[in-house]
């Protein structure tokens, strides 16, 4: 791995050297490391498969791998289409607020945090409404980024959604980026020429 693509001002060998010395001085004690290793060795995997089962599983995977890939591509297409369509519909906000906290308070059917950890520089919230992604309850947040209309979707991650993130693509002229943060799934949409 190599340092690359570092913008002007970020390429600072003296600072990097100081940081390297700093973190080199921060080490777990040997006792704690040995404890972690020992406990790790004692932990049995949740499910232990006989060797022959692995062979069967491999054959099944070969047999159904192509089908699964097709299904995943189809699911991805459906999610992209749903996100793009909802963005283009631009339905009126059910909640008008300019902060994640206020929107969370008013969308009381939503039991997950709405604010992404991923920084969204210059984003200005304008409102929100309920929606769904493939049948799962989601929050649709309306925001402006540098004067450009964006729609942010937040929903709890499912196994199907987890297989999609991170991913970015364009569907029907809408640029869509999907990502996952812990147990939450996010999709951000904006029209390319918006």
């Amino acid at each position: 791995m190599a340092h690359d693509e570092v913008p002007a001002g970020a390429d600072d060998p003296a600072m990097d050297g100081a940081l390297q010395r700093h973190y080199a001085g921060e080490r777990l004690s040997d006792d704690r490391v040995e404890l972690i290793l020992a406990e790790g060795r004692q932990v049995a995997p949740r499910r232990s498969w006989p060797v022959w089962m692995s062979g069967v599983a491999a054959m099944l995977m070969l047999g159904f791998g192509g089908l699964q890939m097709q299904e995943r591509a189809s699911f991805r297409g459906a999610v992209f289409a749903e996100v793009a369509m909802n963005h283009q519909k631009n339905l009126q906000a059910e909640v008008v607020a300019t902060s994640f906290d206020k929107i969370s308070q008013q969308l009381d059917r939503v039991e997950f945090d709405l604010e992404p950890l991923t920084p969204m520089a210059d984003a200005e919230l304008t409102g929100a409404r309920y929606c769904s992604i493939q049948g799962n309850l989601a929050a649709l947040l309306k925001l402006q980024i540098n004067g450009r209309r964006h729609t942010l979707y937040v929903t709890p991650t499912t196994a199907d959604l987890e297989s999609l993130a991170p991913h970015a693509d364009v569907h029907d002229g809408v640029e869509i980026r999907m990502w996952q943060e812990g147990e939450r799934f996010f999709a951000l949409a904006a029209e390319i020429d918006g």
Binding site: M1, V6, H22, G25, R27, L37, E39, T118, W179, G182
Partner: protein
């Protein structure tokens, strides 16, 4: 394996900025991987597991670090006195950064990850990563500079 755990601890520390929480984080991540049969994970898998745990356990529950980094009961600093001062200054300066800035800087400056690799791990665009690194280091320089200016001159 020991160095991998130490690297995981450094990464956890960049997230929590608290030694006690970082120890718990890397410990729990290691056990979680072991429960999945991953007794010798690679670095990317360990870091990803630490990151998900941090997001789930620390941020989602709005849990705040309980042990400040100055409590160095589990650290082993072997530096000269000058470097020790440097270490303390940097500890304070790093505390002034946003978590994402500290994390991106750690991965780039300490682990040697490229911007694209950091972007993959942090699940954000490469441009955002470059911006985090740039802003974070600028903020570090500013904080350290302010601290130097605030130091009273001797007679």
């Amino acid at each position: 394996m020991r160095e991998l755990i130490q690297a995981g601890y450094g990464y956890a520390l960049s997230l929590t900025h608290a030694t006690g929480d970082a120890e718990d984080l890397v410990h729990e991540a290691w056990l979680r991987l072991a429960r999945r049969g991953q007794h010798a994970p690679d670095r990317a898998l360990l870091f990803t597991t630490i990151r998900h745990l941090y997001i789930d356990l620390w941020r989602r529950q709005d849990r705040h670090p309980t042990v400040e980094i100055e409590d160095e009961s589990h650290t082993a600093i072997t530096q000269s006195e000058d470097q020790q001062l440097d270490h303390v200054d940097l500890t304070r300066a790093l505390k002034g950064l946003r978590v994402e800035e500290r994390e991106a800087i750690y991965l780039q400056a300490i682990q040697g990850y490229s911007a694209a690799e950091v972007a993959d791990l942090m699940a954000m665009p490469r441009g955002s990563v470059l911006s985090l690194i740039h802003r974070g280091k600028a903020r570090l320089r500013k904080i350290l500079c302010i601290q130097e200016e605030e130091t009273p001159d001797g007679p």
